[in-house]
């Protein structure tokens, strides 16, 4: 069974989490051209191999996480808070 090491709660079964999607997508500014929005909303790299994605620890701390996962083997290489502020707080031990 796949486990995800939540930086806040520790290793948990992935069934506690909800999959967000491709974490490499950055949404453009609201006034950005239509094409940029189209690309961000509709187009995907759809990588076979290592992919950065978002998961939410729905049945735990409810934090959004950035997870590096191999889409072929389902191996997980790294898990970090998705919010940079939280990541910084976690690192500084606050």
């Amino acid at each position: 069974m796949t486990r995800i090491s939540c930086p806040f709660c520790g290793p948990r079964d992935h069934a506690e989490f909800s999959y967000g999607g491709d974490g490499s997508i950055t949404y453009p500014a609201l006034e950005a051209p239509m094409q940029d929005w189209h690309d961000a909303v509709f187009l995907r790299e759809n990588i076979c191999g290592w992919q950065v994605e978002t998961w939410q620890h729905l049945h735990g701390c409810r934090m959004w996480l950035k997870v590096e996962r191999d889409t072929m083997t389902h191996e997980i290489r790294s898990v970090a808070p998705a919010h940079p502020g939280l990541a910084a707080a976690l690192e500084s031990g606050l």
Binding site: H14, F42, R44, N46, C48, T73, H74
Partner: protein
């Protein structure tokens, strides 16, 4: 190749079944084909068949990395129906169903198409209204066998659903398509392969495409594990692997994600369910039919996260078992025999693509989500038409990669641009 006929079956029966010949050849690959279809699933084989049969393109090949039918063609739950309501889908799937009705004759191969009805359970007045609206649309636009059933009628036909007062999901009625049903998926693969082969199409198994050679806006050759093959026209029909082929061709991103979907078969039972039954409520999703061998064939949702692995996870097993128990409690003691997963290409609106591509001689068939088995005959038919004529026929005109730029989403579920939500 021996043609199947009542006489032939009788004669073989009398003479020890020793006179059957190979169903299709195992040819050497030629260095050049006028048309090459990548992907020996149902769509690839059907396309090659219609290319040869309807358009006389006989110097054609189907390239399959494993064995034909080893992908989703052999992993699906075999449901065939045409009760799609959105414009475009409606016409397309009804055309497909009409082709299914003649397929065994067309291919001289018994694909065991069984029109046993498709029954979608309804659990709220709102769901009944929505289904009635869709089914009225179907009846008025060429799908006459769409019906809305009340509870009494449903109880008579399918007596062993959970009709108890305390049921978690009380049933209120059903949306029924009577000409819908199931077919034997392997037989469809073998039937199309045999028919295409007979028309001269080379079916090359263990032939993975590993690279794509381009000359500007054209594909010139495909590198394969069985050598380099040059091609006049190329069609991709590789289901969940489209993005990999697409990037080999240097084409960037697509509006699809690869997800895996699991299916389950139980031990064989005496006749229990004579229809295809579908249940969907909120997050719960379950569909079931009984195979001709007696096994209960069923499935539910995707695994929710993108994946290229043809293996499933346990939470979905639990999910599907829970849904099964809440609508058909009599399944509680039935033993599970096998379960497996296939990699499906989930599109952004839940509908498919049969279209031209940025490359002149490359054509694309993808985005079937988890409903592409029923599409097989029409997908092959119209993909062949597209490849042969180099332009989309009106029936597939909206199923192109640019539809989102035009503001068009053919979104049967109304789930928005999130592939994992399109069941």
């Amino acid at each position: 190749m021996t043609r199947f006929s009542a006489w032939n079956v009788f004669w073989q029966g009398m003479s020890g079944q020793r006179g059957w010949s190979r169903q299709w050849r195992d040819p050497e690959s030629k260095p050049h084909y006028d048309a090459v279809i990548v992907g020996g699933g149902l769509h690839g084989l059907a396309t090659a068949y219609y290319l040869a049969k309807t358009y006389g393109l006989r110097n054609a090949a189907v390239l399959e990395k494993g064995w034909i039918g080893g992908g989703n063609a052999g992993r699906n739950t075999t449901i065939v129906r045409s009760n799609y309501a959105r414009p475009g889908n409606r016409q397309f799937y009804e055309h497909s169903l009409k082709l299914w009705e003649e397929l065994s004759h067309e291919l001289n191969y018994n694909v065991m198409f069984s029109q046993r009805s498709h029954i979608a359970l309804l659990h709220s007045p709102g769901a009944i209204d929505a289904a009635a609206r869709n089914y009225n649309t179907l009846r008025r636009t060429g799908t006459p066998d769409a019906e809305i059933w009340g509870l009494e009628q449903l109880k008579q036909v399918v007596p062993h659903l959970n009709y108890a007062a305390g049921a978690r999901f009380p049933v209120m009625g059903a949306a029924v398509q009577k000409r819908a049903g199931t077919a034997r998926h392997d037989a469809v693969v073998w039937g199309y392969a045999r028919a295409a082969d007979q028309l001269g199409v080379d079916i090359l198994q263990n032939c993975a495409v590993t690279g794509v050679e381009r000359d500007g806006g054209r594909i010139t050759a495909l590198e394969t594990t069985r050598g380099r093959i040059t091609a006049g026209k190329v069609g991709f029909a590789v289901a969940g692997n489209t993005s990999r082929l697409w990037s080999m061709a240097g084409l960037g991103r697509l509006p699809i994600e690869s997800h895996k979907l699991q299916a389950f078969v139980s031990e064989p039972l005496k006749p229990l369910l004579d229809q295809v039954m579908v249940f969907g409520m909120g997050g719960a999703h379950f569909y079931i039919s009984q195979s001709d061998k007696g096994g209960m064939v069923f499935g539910g949702d995707l695994d929710w996260y993108t994946s290229y692995a043809q293996r499933g996870n346990l939470p979905i097993v639990q999910d599907v078992a829970e849904a099964a128990m809440s609508v058909m409690p009599c399944l509680g003691r039935v033993k599970l025999l096998r379960h497996w997963a296939g990699v499906v290409d989930m599109s952004m609106d839940g509908s498919h693509f049969i279209c031209r591509t940025p490359l002149d001689n490359l054509y694309l068939n993808t985005g079937w989500n988890y409903g592409g088995f029923k599409a097989t005959p029409a997908a092959g038919w119209w993909f062949a038409d597209l490849i042969a004529n180099g332009r989309p026929a009106p029936i597939i005109a909206d199923f192109d990669l640019k539809r989102f730029e035009r503001g068009l989403q053919i979104d049967e579920r109304g789930a928005g641009p999130d592939p994992k939500l399109h069941g």
